[in-house]
């Protein structure tokens, strides 16, 4: 081995090490961001969507008071502003609560359990807006309005 190549050996060795580390970090980042992270994000978003829907239904059911000659209830319901960084909407359709989200895996529906005197449930909540449930009615019929 000549003196010149002897001098080059440490340089080449260090360069090789640096390349290996760079390749390794790149592949790790690619694996995490390409496969694991989006999967977790979707799973967490679906779970948050379920919980949001169940919480909203619970709050609406709890806001209907026991029979009285006049009912006038206004309650703010706390919902997450976004799920998976996207705004969503909660609608009341035929006594069912529907969550509309750009991702169909997050969207869902849940029937509401309300007393018979509740005549209608109507209205829409936008997640980035004020979410208030109003209950109005008399002794026989009660209306639930989401606004």
């Amino acid at each position: 081995m000549s003196d010149r190549s002897r001098g080059l050996t440490p340089v080449v060795g260090k360069g090789l090490e640096a390349v290996i580390v760079l390749l390794y970090v790149a592949s790790l980042v690619a694996a995490l961001h390409g496969g694991v992270l989006p999967e977790y994000r979707t799973a967490a978003a679906a779970e948050v969507g379920d919980r949001t829907l169940a919480t909203a239904a619970d709050r609406i059911e709890a806001s209907v008071p026991s029979p009285a000659s006049a009912v006038d209830v206004t309650r703010t319901v706390d919902l997450p502003d976004t799920i998976d960084r996207a705004a969503y909407r909660i609608r009341a359709v035929d006594g069912t609560l529907v969550l509309d989200h750009p991702d169909p895996a997050v969207s869902g529906r849940v029937p509401l359990a309300l007393p018979e005197r509740v005549a209608t449930v109507e209205g829409t909540w936008e997640s980035d807006d004020r979410t208030v449930v109003r209950v109005r009615g008399d002794g026989r019929r009660v209306r639930v309005i989401l606004s």
Partner: protein
Amino acid sequence: MRAQTNLVALVLALVLVTGAAVVGVAVADGALAGADREPLDRHAATAVADRLVADGSPTTVRANALDAAAVAELNASRVEALAPPAEEAALRIALDGEPVVERGAASGGATVRRSVVVVNRTGNARRTIDIADGATGRVPRGVGRAVVDVDPGPNTTVHTVRADGRVVLHDGAGLDTNATVHLFRYEPTTVRIETDPNATGRVAVTYPRRVVETHTLTVTVDA
């Protein structure tokens, strides 16, 4: 040779970092799986339990008091009509472990418990009081109304019937009647007859008999 030692150390370090990453992902996986609380199952179970024990529900006589006859007739479709969130889910409703409604095999899912009383109406109870001035009879707690049947014997005039001192029936000319009177339901009531000395005859007090038992209502829903 020194360069090779460095390389071995590097490879070892990378293997260790890979191991740490794999362990981290596994832990995150476990945490995500453990965070799944099945909120929709819980909502359905809570809704069923709340609708079953609510005041004004067809299964109750008042809030948290189940009607034994209505509970005996309960089935899955009636529960669904009462609480739509239980639709198409495995469902088990039990009173102290005795199944009341069972559909499908609810193995996992969410379970909700409520403390309830079960009111059993088993016909009418009848209490007879022999008429004498100051004769009394007792009606147990929980009776809101009773039928008082005054049947005086010959030469007897019953003026007044009192319930815990309150006048519930009175006729100065003499009572001979069958009337419904309202009682205070939260305490036992003493019915007292006021008449002449040496009076004969009978007063019958009839009221619905109720057996009240405390149970734990368990609702399991597994969608």
